[in-house]
């Protein structure tokens, strides 16, 4: 019986591949949107994730960066810097705002850097130099590619024009893109003299960041201090609520679509065998054996489709950002494994109804085939 299952499946390789491609298409959709979701999720927290201080200090009541506003008096930075166990404090100013680049307007994280504060600046430059003078800005290279604004061009933040002197990489996402400007310029825009937004605190070697964060909260009035992991968790949660959830919803819709495609393919596969199954039943094969054979067929087609999708995901998807630079795609093995489990469950579920219908076939119909 299993020989029949295998041979009847592989007898028409074209038909088998067409079925597998249908399933693969559905899986590729899911993998693609999952990769977008993973990529955007990582990119939304790209700035804090790459800067990675041991502790983030901010205004009391604030716990993240995305869409947040924080002010901390400058003397508090000095106080924290003098605390035992603190290696270094790097203050930044920070503004969420719309920037105007040519005809394009977009939402951005604008980070104001003190002179020589590369600790909080771009972690990778693809062109140009660091900020040295007032009125200079470093923008993401992807933004430059998308808007056509390059080195020496101007862009506007609120009512102030800046000249592009450097292009950073890894700082672009569709939800938020990160720009770096001089601290003083941003201070003027915000009229926030004597304050910082966040303090990036690095601890001495061997100091527990969690304990130090507690100590800062206890000893410095009206500030919040979180370890990097806590801060990222908060930031990611808020970012997810605001934008990534839309992508997650799209991923879910695609997953449901994939389930329907797999179920339909399984349905067609099983229903095409109706005539032969009537003959097989007439010859004396019992229903459980037919059930297992049909499930095996569905499982094999789904596996074939899944393998095609995985090959596509691993070898093609990584090149998509070359064509569409604003996309950040991450295909993780964990996601592929999860998809594999889902694919198996979906395939079996999709085959259950048609298999049940086929098992109820009257074997006497073999006389009318």
């Amino acid at each position: 019986m299993f020989q029949w299952a295998w041979k009847s499946l592989t007898k028409q390789p074209g038909s088998l591949t067409a079925s597998a491609l249908g399933i693969a298409f559905a899986f590729i959709l899911v993998i693609f949107f999952d990769a977008v979701w993973q990529g955007e999720s990582e990119q939304v927290v790209a700035y804090p994730e790459n800067i990675k201080p041991d502790i983030w200090v901010m205004q009391s009541g604030v716990g993240n960066m995305h869409m947040a506003m924080s002010f901390v008096w400058d003397w508090k930075a000095d106080k924290i810097a003098s605390m035992p166990g603190v290696k270094q404090v790097t203050p930044i100013l920070y503004l969420n705002n719309v920037i105007v680049a040519g005809d394009t307007k977009m939402f951005a994280f604008i980070v104001g850097l003190l002179p020589g504060a590369q600790r909080a600046g771009p972690w990778s430059m693809s062109a140009g130099r660091q900020i040295e003078n007032p009125g200079e800005v470093i923008i993401p290279d992807v933004l430059s590619e998308l808007t056509g604004i390059g080195m020496g061009d101007q862009l506007r933040i609120t009512d102030k024009n800046f000249t592009v002197v450097g292009l950073s990489s890894g700082t672009y996402s569709s939800a938020n893109t990160v720009l770096f400007v001089p601290f003083k310029d941003l201070e003027d825009i915000l009229s926030s003299s004597g304050t910082y937004s966040y303090l990036l605190v690095d601890a001495d070697d061997g100091i527990d960041a969690k304990d130090l964060a507690v100590q800062i909260r206890n000893e410095v009035d009206k500030v919040n201090a979180l370890t990097h992991a806590e801060f990222i968790k908060n930031d990611f949660a808020l970012a997810s609520q605001m934008g990534v959830e839309i992508i997650l919803m799209m991923t879910t819709i695609c997953s449901v679509l994939a389930a329907l495609i797999v179920a339909f393919t399984a349905y067609s596969l099983v229903m095409r065998k109706r005539q032969e199954i009537a003959i097989i039943k007439a010859l004396g094969v019992k229903n459980p054996l037919i059930f297992y054979a049909l499930m095996l067929q569905t499982g094999l087609v789904t596996l074939y489709g899944f393998v095609i999708a995985v090959v596509f995901a691993l070898f093609i998807i990584p090149y998509v950002p070359l064509l569409v630079p604003q996309l950040t795609l991450i295909v993780s093995m964990e996601s592929l494994f999860q998809l594999g489990v889902i694919a198996f469950v979906v395939a079996i579920s999709g085959a259950l109804l048609p298999t049940h219908m086929v098992l109820r076939l009257d074997p006497a119909t073999a006389f009318h085939v």
């Binding site: 007898k11 009257d362 085939v369």
Partner: protein
Amino acid sequence: MTSPILSAKHISKYYGSGHTKVRAVNDVSLEIQPGELVLIMGPSGSGKTTLLSMLGGLLKASEGSIEIEGINITQLKEAALPNIRALKIGFIFQAFNLLEALTVEENILFPAQLRKHKANSAKQRADELIQQLKLEHRRFALPQTLSGGEKQRVAIARALINEPGLILADEPTGNLDSQTGQEVMMILHDIARDHGYAVVMVTHDPRVEDIADRIMWLEDGALHDRKLEAHQWTHDPVCGMRVDEWKADIKTEYKEKTYIFCSQGCKQRFEKNPVQYVSHSKRDESSR
């Protein structure tokens, strides 16, 4: 008298109920002995296939009992019937019904998988059947590459692989040309006569009548014996099939006597070795 392979008593099949109740088969009884070839004939829609389906455990009878090798299949649960079909009955279909993805050998061996611990003997049996039915050169061919006659020979081999006592054939010559149909009829005739299988055949083909031991006529759901009409017919000396002397145009002369055949195949076989067939043609003379 040996005990019957198949015994059907007062079987009926109804469809619908009340005013819409239709009797497809009505109070049919028959017994088939080993080695017997029985034809079931009748007009279209008379219930022949319904009857055959019930005899083969494919369809539940509304009334009556059917025993195959002493097992009352009408009392068996649905789940037990596949075993009866696999081991006690061989099916031959008009449309051959071979499994398209399997080779000739695999098709023949397919029902053998349903027997336990018989793999080696099944292979040996398949080899014998392949040889007996002249399918050696087609052993690894797929059904789509076979002629109609070859397909039906494969179907016959498949029906015989588990050595069931009963063969049920539904219009086995219906999709074949006359010569191929006659060859298939001869195979069925031989397996009944030489190997002791009971063969029940539903057919419209009047040429088959003369190789049958009994002819049953099914009309309006009821079954009757039908007498053979002997006069005005002669017999093909090779296959024994009845041939209309007045209409036959396949003839040959041997020792100043005219012999009439049902097909060119029989004529050729006769001409190769007439002596073998002349001694068997007494029936001809008696019928003249």
